[in-house]
Symmetry: C2
């Protein structure tokens, strides 16, 4: 199993280390051989070679069967709106170069963690939804710039019918595997790109007669996700709305530190925790590694078709939760384990 390892910034390296330990243990148990190839990305890559997604890193990813990714971003860049090179550019360049067009973000609840949710138990129970976020189009990749001596700024959001179809197809197919409900989220009452989305998805409905499709405005969904998250199954949406809604969805379950994600690509697929680089915790050995470990499980299942291996990882994660071998964010009044201790225990 040929895996590119992109640890990135902040807590990235620490959580990635634990996923590597667990993956190696699984490989040993099931007789696989993993070839890990590490490569630089994010602020770490800017510091080393002046580029957040160097060509060498791209070559490593292209040669791999899957990419395991930590997190990128550094506060040093956030408060400098004029910085010429920024870690996030690397992320966006990577998404585009690898053709990672669909970000798959599940939100589900761990029974043992349900009381961590900011939502009341009866609101969150039974929630099991997937947001499919389009990841290589929209306002993230349109033309942008300044005019009038820098006093006017603009960004352009663009979508083609093909881009919408590609993402929507995945959504319809996932819905077929699940409870056959698809929700297309847009702002068709204002945006032309949203009207293209709605029109395109409407035209595809006839090919999936078993799937019930609903169309909702992004502002309404931002509400309903908090009110009745369990009413959703598969949600498809464009890049920027997906960015906002997936993050919102991630905290409602009470299991934010545990949510994995994958990005399905033309050239390869990428697996990463949904949390950020959490710079305040970097180097402290306190970050929760479970989302990254569960991302590795997703990788075994989706990139390599190794279901049993994936399930073994999920089982040991559940066991660690049940036995309280958890980092401080989940420990409550009990003993908090270090990031590396959790990784060792799981492995």
């Amino acid at each position: 199993l040929n895996i590119a390892l992109l640890a990135g910034d902040g807590i990235g390296p620490e959580v990635i280390d634990q996923a590597v330990k667990v993956s190696n243990a699984i490989a040993k148990k099931f007789n696989h051989e993993i070839a890990w190839t590490s490569a630089l990305t994010g602020a770490a890559a800017i510091d080393a070679v002046g580029e957040p997604y160097p060509d060498e890193t791209h070559a490593v990813c292209m040669a791999a069967d899957a990419v395991l990714f930590g997190a990128i971003g550094h506060p040093r860049f956030d408060n400098d709106p004029t910085a010429k090179v920024r870690p996030e550019q690397g992320l966006l360049k990577m998404r585009k170069a690898l053709g990672l067009y669909a970000n798959v973000r599940p939100t589900f609840t761990f029974p043992s963690l349900i009381d961590n949710s900011p939502l009341k138990r009866e609101r969150i129970e039974g929630t099991d939804l997937i947001i499919l976020r389009e990841l290589t189009g929209g306002i993230y990749f349109g033309e942008r710039g300044r005019k009038d001596d820098g006093n006017t700024a603009f960004d352009t959001c663009t979508y083609t019918k093909e881009e919408v179809e590609r993402l929507a197809k995945l959504g319809f197919e996932m819905a077929l595997q699940r409870s056959k409900k698809l929700c297309c989220v847009d702002k068709a009452n204002v945006l032309e790109t949203s009207r293209l989305w709605r029109q395109t998805v409407q035209a595809m409905e006839k090919d999936y007669p078993e799937v019930t499709v609903s169309y909702e405005f992004v502002d309404a969904v931002a509400m309903r996700l908090v009110q009745w998250p369990s009413s959703y199954d598969v949600i498809i949406t464009e890049n920027l709305f997906g960015d906002i809604l997936t993050d919102e969805a991630s905290v409602i379950s009470g299991s934010m530190g545990l949510m994995p994600s994958s990005s399905i690509g033309v050239h390869t697929s990428l697996f990463e925790p949904i949390h950020g680089s959490y710079p305040q915790a970097a180097g402290k050995d306190i970050a929760n590694p479970l989302a990254t470990v569960l991302s590795a499980a997703m990788m075994f299942e989706d990139a390599f078709g190794l279901k049993e291996e994936a399930q073994a990882i999920r089982d040991v994660v559940n066991k660690s939760l049940a036995e309280g071998v958890v980092t401080e964010d989940l420990a409550g009044k009990n003993k908090a384990y270090k990031t590396s201790e959790v990784g060792d225990w799981l492995a």
Copy 2:
């Protein structure tokens, strides 16, 4: 008091009726004279004259000291992405024509309703925040269209430094009146318009040394609003982010049906409930009129400087809640009053 009355669509007319009753009762008690001038807007205006914001309606608004607004939008238009005239165009045209550049949306909790919140009591208690949404710029008003035989769509987001300054100034001033915390929400790690926002607000900081300003990404705020809403005070943001975040914020308090809003304009100011046109309930006399009644209170205070009158309205609303004279959405297992009955009782 010269007030333009725009009832709009769906439940708009019903809830507006109650606000008129209450305003008239207040005017009588405090010896004011109100001249109401009704005008058409939304789907209602399309049906009558083919235009969602007719010139005549604009003239009525321009001549008024304040506009009291219900809601617009009709599902008939939502699922027809090709409709040429849509109710929302009227809303946008009105915002632009009246120069309503700042939408002020408070989110606070009513102690008696706190258990209606989807959030746990300890998460929501003490929440009292204001989102200031820029309302006449951004992707709502940029160039948009189709190319490639309709297969490519685009929308443009544009902001000028002056637009940002105008909105941010209000934000700084509000923060000074409150707990002196201002949060600027953007996506400066991706968007050029966001970088202009951040840069412009940063440059204004020196004029308000007492205000502590933080800068957060919209995806992070979508999370933190659910996790720790009480950590926010005044939030400023651009049009589309404001659309999503204000709606998200509106449901966390458990008092969605009660939240008023105002839009501060160059020519006049507009007051409206934050809920939508709720077409399923239209004509049934079941919609909660309190948000519209509280919008009238905001109008008395902010447009006419009549604080005592505003407080009298807020007091009677609190009384109706305490005594359980409420519509079905708030009645729980108790008797539900009709929209019109609540209005009569308040008046």
